[in-house]
């Protein structure tokens, strides 16, 4: 195909995709009383929108920003994102429900994701998760979740605390882990992934017990 034909095809395809995109765009009528949007949130969302050829691409960073502010993707948070982005709340709620890290229910303040996928389980992750869950109880400080592979099988079993990776962990580490979060200290400073070398073959080694994968209640 010649360049010109290609360009025509892409121009048409792009037009169609923009037309489709309008389906979920809010009309002024449905937006009679726009909710108050905190200025710093509005600014952050608009900054993201300006980065992309199609502003809708900012949906995930915008929802993440709203979640940081509100603690979760509450109806109010979604309404505010919708107002700034010119999308419907229903569209954004559908997007939010697709992703594991966007919370559609109220949660604790600190994310503690315990990886319970295959490599971590082979080294005792299910027991670790139960220990964290039981120790945290219903403390509103914590959002303890079993999580799919977090990409740190070299320090298995491991957890991500507000994005900070720590491991290898044993149930004995749990009290100190929770205590560090409560007091605002760096979490298990000696077990953070960031401090580990790559080239040293012994960087991640530790003795680990023989045990089959144990089942844990969801």
């Amino acid at each position: 195909m010649s360049d010109r034909v290609h360009q025509q095809i892409h121009a048409r395809a792009r037009e169609e995709s923009l037309l489709n995109a309008r389906v979920c765009v809010r009309t002024p009528k449905t937006n009679a009383i726009p909710p108050e949007v905190p200025p710093e949130l509005r600014e952050e969302i608009e900054r993201h929108m300006a980065l992309y050829p199609d502003t809708r691409s900012a949906a995930l960073p915008a929802l993440a920003a709203a979640q940081r502010l509100h603690g979760w993707c509450s109806p109010e948070a979604i309404e505010q994102v919708a107002t700034v982005m010119g999308l419907t709340p229903a569209y954004l709620a559908a997007v939010a429900s697709f992703y594991d890290m966007l919370e559609t229910e109220s949660i604790g303040r600190h994310d503690v994701y315990v990886c319970t996928n295959i490599s971590c389980s082979l080294r005792g992750a299910d027991r670790l998760y139960e220990a964290v869950r039981d120790a945290a109880g219903d403390d509103p400080d914590f959002n303890v979740r079993p999580f799919e592979c977090l990409g740190a099988c070299d320090i298995a079993p491991m957890a991500s605390v507000d994005g900070v990776y720590v491991g290898p962990l044993t149930p004995d580490d749990v009290p100190r882990l929770l205590d560090d979060i409560r007091t605002g200290r760096p979490v298990l400073a000696d077990k953070q992934l960031a401090t580990r070398l790559v080239a040293d073959p012994n960087a991640n080694s530790q003795a680990f017990p023989a045990h089959p994968i144990e089942e844990s209640a969801p």
Partner: protein
């Protein structure tokens, strides 16, 4: 045993900064590439024989050449949604040497004629995304990203886009939808992204490791790079090894060395007194291999010939202390959780596989159920828009075939313990 190209300076203090990276020879390959024509860069990439490091193993140079020529908006997307269980090599690269990736992206975009690029990084890697953002702003300030890069006339915008936790967004078309601000559902192919990808424009999508290898190839020359590895699997590969080994971690190896050298030589093998029961050669999506397969060369074709795949280069070792049913259940539950639900064979198939495996584990399965799992797996493969369903069906199917007797024995043992068994007895 290791061969360090990407990992040459990986533990160099301060390598994340532009200053140290440059001192170690960073961005020299970019200068070299910009002095060539885009066509010449493409010739080097094709000569290197580099195959995609994300899982599919498609020739990178060929992928670049599929993009239409001419002055239209073209995009380059770096797939940093590393979510394949057992894989953590891209995390290491981005965390320790973000500029290697940025340099690779600039060179690849020059060869492809793309002026807008994105790094789609999984949301869980928030620290790595922060590191990339800092490195990127340094690169922008130094005129390495932006308008008229180093006076070459080539312009490139680069944005780090954070995902929000969805395995399916590592699938290239699911990733594109997610990057467009939608739910990450895969698209029907064709059209392929090279023709209609992001915002319906021609799009080149490559894995982090693939792009990070580009500066090395340009630096040493495609032909020189192609001397490494085997006939059809050129170069070095980052291998993430985890599970029942004494020294889990990332190792860079020359493709084609025996798997035993990686599992035992580098990672130390299972602890004293235990044996390898089975191993996943390329992430949890790859069919399992056995201890007998340990002497196979670790490369794309040898793994394929053995009925598995090199995948993302993530070796997960399972030793003989673990019942196979536990491994099967873990794997199946993961894919059930991550199925986007768009295609019936995957949505229902992953769910039913978990249910049937649970029956076997609970003691209310009949021997026919093993047969049903096997046929179900067969019926998922090739029948969906993307390969997520296949990614469950292949390893589970291989476990059923290779550990049939163990499944049957487990089924009988749990049945004998359950009420159902008591009635039949």
């Amino acid at each position: 045993m290791t061969k360090a190209l990407l990992f040459k300076d990986i533990d160099e203090p301060g390598l994340t900064t532009l200053e140290v990276y440059k001192r170690r020879g960073g961005y020299e390959s970019l200068r070299k590439a910009l002095a060539m024509t885009p066509e010449q860069v493409l010739v080097e990439l094709e000569a290197s024989g580099l195959r995609g490091r994300g899982g599919a193993g498609f020739a990178m140079g060929k992928k670049v050449s599929f993009l239409p020529k001419g002055a239209i908006d073209k995009y380059l997307v770096c797939n940093a949604d590393e979510s394949e269980p057992g894989t953590f090599k891209d995390r290491e690269l981005m965390q320790k040497s973000p500029h290697t990736l940025i340099e690779g992206i600039i060179i690849a975009s020059y060869a492809a004629g793309a002026n807008r690029s994105f790094i789609y990084i999984r949301g869980e890697y928030s620290r790595q995304a922060d590191i990339l953002d800092v490195a990127l702003s340094e690169a922008r300030e130094a005129g390495l990203v932006g308008e008229d890069i180093l006076g070459s006339g080539h312009s490139l915008s680069l944005i780090v886009h954070r995902g929000a936790g969805a395995y399916i967004c590592g699938e290239e078309t699911g990733l594109l939808d997610s990057l467009e601000g939608k739910r990450g559902n895969p698209r029907l192919k064709p059209p392929f992204p090279a023709n209609q990808g992001l915002y319906q424009g021609p799009t080149l999508i490559n894995n982090v490791e693939t792009l990070a290898t580009v500066p090395t190839i340009i630096g040493m020359g495609g032909a020189e790079y192609a001397k490494l590895g085997t006939e059809t699997s050129k170069g070095t590969k980052l291998v993430s090894i985890s599970g029942h080994v004494q020294r889990p971690g990332n190792y860079e190896i020359e493709l084609g060395i025996p798997a035993r050298e990686i599992i035992y030589g580098l990672a130390g093998g299972p602890p004293e007194g235990r044996q390898v029961k089975c191993w996943f050669p390329g992430g949890s999506s790859s069919p399992v291999l056995l201890a007998d397969d340990l002497d196979l060369p670790y490369d794309f074709d040898s793994m394929a010939k053995a009925g598995s795949m090199l995948g993302s280069g993530a070796i997960i070792v399972v030793d003989d202390s673990t019942p196979i049913i536990d491994v099967a259940l873990k794997v199946a539950r993961f894919y059930r959780h991550e199925s986007c639900g768009k295609c019936t064979p995957c949505r229902e198939g992953t769910n039913w596989t978990v249910k049937l495996l649970e029956r076997i584990d609970r003691g209310d399965a009949t021997p026919m159920d093993i047969e049903i799992i096997a046929s179900e797996c067969e019926n998922i493969i090739g029948n969906c828009l993307c390969v997520l369903g296949d990614a469950m069906a292949m390893p589970i199917g291989s476990m059923i075939v290779k550990f049939r007797e163990e499944f049957e024995a487990h089924l009988e043992a749990t049945r004998a313990r359950s009420d159902l068994g008591a009635i039949h007895a």
